[in-house]
Amino acid sequence: MKRHKYIYIFLVISIISALLYVFLWMLTTRYDLFPSDPERRAQMARAIRNITQRKTIQLIAMVVAAVLIASTSLVFQTLTHNRILTPSLIGFDSIFITVQTLIIFLFTSKSLFYTNIYINFFISAGLMIFISMLMYALILRKNRNNLIFLLLVGMILSTLSRSLANFLQTIMNPDEFQSIVIRTEVSVSNMNTGIIIIAIPILIIILGLIVKEIKALDVMTLGESQATGLGVSYQQKMNLHLIYIAVAMSVATAMIGPISFLGLIAVNASRELLKTYRHRELLILSSLIAITFLVLGQTIIVETGYLTTVTVWMSLVGGLYMIYLILKENKA
């Protein structure tokens, strides 16, 4: 099929970028990787193995996060019937930053809440899930179904919490501030890979649940009344998907940091390329594009000696793409 060619193209590109991420350093390193001295050679082999292993785990983390973000963004756009929204508008990024800031502000960077990566992960992911659920319960129950209202409240809350975090950061001592910056920047290199063990099962469960409903999602693009008429329990499905979204976004954000634009770019690019409403194909392609973007971006950043972060280049590309989208929607 002609339409599937993009899926294959991006499959190849994402595999290439994955390979680049794990192995490119071997070509650019200034060390001799295979020295003649047997003792040094064994040492080098061990180093190579270590680095490759670490990079592979980082790669898996990026893939997990990318797929989580892409798939939930896709579902979110279906629920809101809007192509320029992402679930991060509910405020996951800001909540994450605020939680990290509060932890360091209240307990210092030497506390277990910050240093123990598992505790930190559970606190930040747990709080994000809790706050989004609370928002769902309070807002959606009262104004049935009003997702746009939910987003407005989310935006206000996230601005508020970001201001709070900013305020706390300015009155902190610089060392503590530095710890926050390290944690709240999308950084694959700093992340503790142990979290993957938790994240992979979550990814599999959520992806499984979404794939199970993938045909119903197609029907839901027709709108609530039409979908209900066709026998899809819209309300119930919407609530379930919102829960998946909250869990997935929280895990992804807690794992690699706030990364707003990734979902937007990936889902929209795949819609643009495939020109279909079918979620099965969109899900595959947007996941692949998200992986490509994240992994390739990280590869470039690592190879350029960390001149900038993935967030910066993601925001640059994502922002430009967003402007293009808005202008285009405006015309149509």
Partner: protein, 263 residues
Amino acid sequence: MIEIKNISQSYGDFHVLKHINLTIQENKITALIGANGAGKSTLLGVLSRLLVPHEGEVFLDGVDIATMKSKDVAKKLAILKQTNQLHIRITIKELVSFGRFPHSKGRLKDEDYQKIEEAIRYMDLSDIEHKYLDQLSGGQRQRAYIAMILAQDTKYIFLDEPLNNLDMRYAVEMMTILQRMVKELHKTIIVVMHDINFAAAFSDYIIAMKDGEIIEQGEIDYMMDKEKLDHIFDHDFCIAGVNGRKVCIYYNQQTEIVQGENK
């Protein structure tokens, strides 16, 4: 058979439907008429379980609709709402395929493809089945939606103002198709409509609503009565006979009053 028992619905303090009891006759076109805000669309919404009534029950072939699974209801009853704003690019054939969802759960089998093709042929859309919806005229798009409803293969079909945005030719064509569907496919169709003349010309039975209540119902001849219509619409009608059919004329406005108000 569809039976409605003591249905009430309200938005806040505003009672849209007040204790409605009704039986819908099978194998007929029933027109639901009434002024704006009389509660027609709400009643249709409750009938088709899009809205949950605050009070009362709807029985679909003797079973309470609230106790049925949504997908089982969808095999018996299809509804088309008046606003069909789609933001996805989709061809007629793809849209019609959605109609099979309650039966196939998205995995189309031979039988489903056959039904889809039949529905498209029935609505005379075969030549343009690969066209996208946004390339179609209003009449063609409406027919595409009806084809989807047909593919759903239900006994009952509810249509909320299907004649909206259709010019006279397409409106007549649409109503003729509905008549054919009743005669050939033995459907039971309920249509919400505004134009009383269309209701009189093409439906078998008229139910009139006013302020959330059913105030009159009956066959065409019985309903096409100046006094009744005046009461239903709070308007001054004039009933005329054309080709042995009753037609109502509603443009004879009290011009003096309007002018008087303007001063």
